[in-house]
Symmetry: C2
Subunit: 383 residues, 2 copies
Amino acid sequence: MKVLVIGGDGYCGWATALYLSNRGYEVGILDSLVRRYWDMQLGVDTLTPILPIQERIQCWQALTGKTIDLFVGDITDYDFLIKSLRAFEPGAIVHFGEQRSAPYSMIDREHAVLTQVNNVVGTLNLLYAMKEDFPDCHLVKLGTMGEYGTPNIDIEEGYITIEHNGRKDTLPYPKQPGSFYHLSKVHDSHNIHFACRIWGLRATDLNQGVVYGVLTEETGMDERLINRLDYDGVFGTALNRFCIQAAIGHPLTVYGKGGQTRGFLDIRDTVRCIEIAIANPAEAGEFRVFNQFTEMFSVGDLARKVQEAGKSLGLKVEIHHLENPRVEKEEHYFNAKNTKLIDLGLHPHYLSDALLDSLLNFAIKYKDRVNQNEILPKVTWRR
Amino acid sequence: MKVLVIGGDGYCGWATALYLSNRGYEVGILDSLVRRYWDMQLGVDTLTPILPIQERIQCWQALTGKTIDLFVGDITDYDFLIKSLRAFEPGAIVHFGEQRSAPYSMIDREHAVLTQVNNVVGTLNLLYAMKEDFPDCHLVKLGTMGEYGTPNIDIEEGYITIEHNGRKDTLPYPKQPGSFYHLSKVHDSHNIHFACRIWGLRATDLNQGVVYGVLTEETGMDERLINRLDYDGVFGTALNRFCIQAAIGHPLTVYGKGGQTRGFLDIRDTVRCIEIAIANPAEAGEFRVFNQFTEMFSVGDLARKVQEAGKSLGLKVEIHHLENPRVEKEEHYFNAKNTKLIDLGLHPHYLSDALLDSLLNFAIKYKDRVNQNEILPKVTWRR
């Protein structure tokens, strides 16, 4: 089976492309490389020394004998997209190719517009391309748990059955996203759902939690295959950033009270979840939603776990509560369902002391690459 | 109070601008006039001979002594938008300025992308402009009843209280829009809701039903103030189109079985609803949703009403059931709430024989302007 990984040069995308290649799928990577460009513009960089995508792929072939096709370009350019699809002929498309940072989308009006236009138009183009030439192809689209916000009732997987005034229906779960980025994913979900309904396309929306970790079997084979690991205030995410902060002796930056609870998962589970979705495609006309996370933690809990793990490695780790740059509830109910991927065979890597040790040691190995000026959040929601 | 009507050259916008001006509001019209350009590109035209916006406004001033400021430009151009707002200094902004046709958005990929980018970016720009310079201004945004789709439970006004697994919350009503146009309005609603939440903006989302009729007190004062009336397959809507078809002896074009039920309202109620929203602004931080329609009809019911009204005028009116160009349920439950505007003082003009007579006679008056080739739907959802 041929799988095209859009955004295959990114954090989740690169790990997924290699994992699928290793598992025997014929993999293509389509990526505009614009994320590397945004890093330059913002003056930020991944902790890890990542090679150009062309060299990464050459290295993978040298090590394993497996080839990965590369299409460099932007899916908002429909001509490029359709030509690439016709050349590759995918049976499944994994779509990571979006601007994926909430703070980036909140920098200013231009970045909000860029994020929504980039993400919505890219996905619309993909839907039209599938309708035209690849109606049986399975779209595996990355959504986010952040689409749901923090409602005071249990979060179901994409849909909720509502009884109201003596009648009943199963409807899309209400969405209360918390940034212009998260909103773009909600827009995508509605657009994809519609395309499945009217054109009979098949799609799986993976509402992913916050991903942590860096090593997968494949990216750990050789330093030239190393994955990116973001710790800066724009692209860094909670647990990964904490480990890097601990490694360099920087206080862990908890926003506000730290009671914000979210779904999390190990990157080794991300790649497996994608494979599960591909191996069990949605039906024609079906818009299927899986919540892709394995455990729920509050941000404060994670900081304390990193503090403790750091102690066992001899690191003195402080926790600082910063004024919250975001507008979000800092204490709230949060209970989200995540049984669908487990029912299909996911065996989670739960967060362990071993993982924290490994991630901390990884961060220590590369700590000389850290730029202290990149760490604190500079983007605020209110202004 | 100064009210800026964005899209004030259009069907609802023009009627609203004159009504508000007549009621003593200081009115400005901001319009890119792109709708007139799209008509040219599609080779369609309104039934009525509408004057250029500049002449319409001059005529209004000559008749009433009231001035209307005019800003010609596009709100997707932020510089133009912010300059216009700073020049006019509105206390309320009525936003009709979007691509508003479902079939137009379904012509092809380009029109789907144009519709979503145009509508979403225009509204995002407006939100940022308000945040920057007019944080107390009240945004009155035109949404559509089509955002809800046709769920099997009662449709509430914007939000629904859900009891689930022993807990309870009031959440945004789930949306199942039926075209890329309707989707763009759902995207807008989510974006505006978020902006109210994080920036404390005040907004009213008017989920309007299908508007019918053409005469308001103001647009009927002089033929030079006449409103547009669309009957073509792209911009025409159910009841108005039926009356024009009846006037020229064309069979009424009911799509499919005709059991599609929707909310409808008289254009004289549209303008009054806008005034009610302006006169009772949302609170700071509030995203308020009103369902703006007065009655529910199935498309088949409306065709039969027009047939009967035509008979009394001596017209022989046939009803044809065309193969449905859309993907939608043709028989379904539909019960939507609409009490909020009535509670604030709306006295509806319910659909009457008198209105149908008047609309039919109006159509007969201009029937020589009808282009028969424009009537049938050419855009289909499935392909």
